[in-house]
Symmetry: C2
Subunit: 252 residues, 2 copies
Amino acid sequence: MTACGPARRSTGDDRPVAPGHAPGAATLATVRPGSRRVRPSRPPPTEPSPRRWAMPGEPVVGRTRQIIFDEATRLFGAQGYAGTTMRDIATAVGLLPGSLYTHIQGKENLLLEIVESGIDRFLAIADGVARSGAGPDQKLRALIKDHVGVVAQNPERTLVVFHQWRYLTGEARERVVEKRSRYEDAFRKIMNQGRRSGVFAPGLDLKVSVLAVLGALNWTAEWYRPDGPDTVAEIGERLADTLMSGLLTRAS
Amino acid sequence: MTACGPARRSTGDDRPVAPGHAPGAATLATVRPGSRRVRPSRPPPTEPSPRRWAMPGEPVVGRTRQIIFDEATRLFGAQGYAGTTMRDIATAVGLLPGSLYTHIQGKENLLLEIVESGIDRFLAIADGVARSGAGPDQKLRALIKDHVGVVAQNPERTLVVFHQWRYLTGEARERVVEKRSRYEDAFRKIMNQGRRSGVFAPGLDLKVSVLAVLGALNWTAEWYRPDGPDTVAEIGERLADTLMSGLLTRAS
DNA sequence: CCTACCGATCGGTAGG
DNA sequence: CCTACCGATCGGTAGG
């Protein structure tokens, strides 16, 4: 249960890390109350662009926008959505608060994009597994392993996906809730298939079993450490062993 | 994954529910942004007390204090600590914001008392199970069932215990982290015992198995519904079955 | 991307 | 437990 050490961790996920933001800025241990940050050190001016700043409304899809998303993901994961201010994000990126709005529409929209793109990755692996011709037990094992793989790619994003979606409102929230339940259904279908085909225990309570597996999987985002001794594949394999074979010896 | 319906739910836990606060006030569906609440309807004056208000510094341990804790627990669970304002709590209780401070010391202290008293309940059942003379498998089953029982007593409090503790700072945080890891140890000890005595699979990865069980248990606070069709004992039993015997048929 | 700033809201207090 | 209020901070915008 050391889910929130102050160690700065890359957001992983095949993207460059934000340049020139203060290391260790706004980690959980130092946040709130009263630990107000100082003025962000301006990042070194990058190569001059034809126009020094985008016009309002112009679609901005550049490097900076990606950095903002990465830092917001990290901060929302560590401090929660409501516990993260736009000033926290600006400081982490190396901008002044108002400058964020050239790149993004607002705080809630930032959350929505993080949550939705995150959950889409989980839906993608569920789709892949469903399309494979494997049997239910192999499907479940594959889905567990793939899930751990997505968590390991970016644990903070996973925390945001599974906890911070509550701060969304209106139809954004509805869309996310729908996608979450679609992911849950993927597990339900596989386990129902396996129960009917006899590879899973016939007395198995579908509802409780699905939620037990999902609970174990969601929790991985809280304890997974990229610098741990075990590979992602090993962790997934062992998690699948525990959930599928159980703790008791087969004899008992 | 319907963990956040707008339905108002009693805080359970053998205490009277707050009188005279607006039903449905500040539920998740209506929170933020821009949904600012109106002035709280004053609760009907209770029987006159000898003194109409306590002096500052005087220890207040009365009814109102308990209602404040119950409402804060509910709100912290539903909206998160950072997403809940003292004004939210005051409105739910039926006071004006400043009046809360006759009963409590401050927001963070309120969180600490909720988290610590909550985690103490989990430690108490772990102690009880450890002292029982049962074998490791029976101990684990009992602990799983007791855990579900504590969750069912007050799901919101459990959500606060397992997620909102991150907002604590300083030694309060350290104390809570220590208690959390003590609870984790209780599971580790039982499962280690069971593995050595041969009742649990010898190839079992202790770390992953402990975290899988804890994950499944922590998740119950997100989906448990007091008005569901299954009794708490049944849910605990089925969760223990799933985790201990696994999903596969014993034959396979 | 910065300067400069807005109105709203925050946790909390003085004083009765 | 209320009235009245504080200084700090919030998300966000105008204009260049």
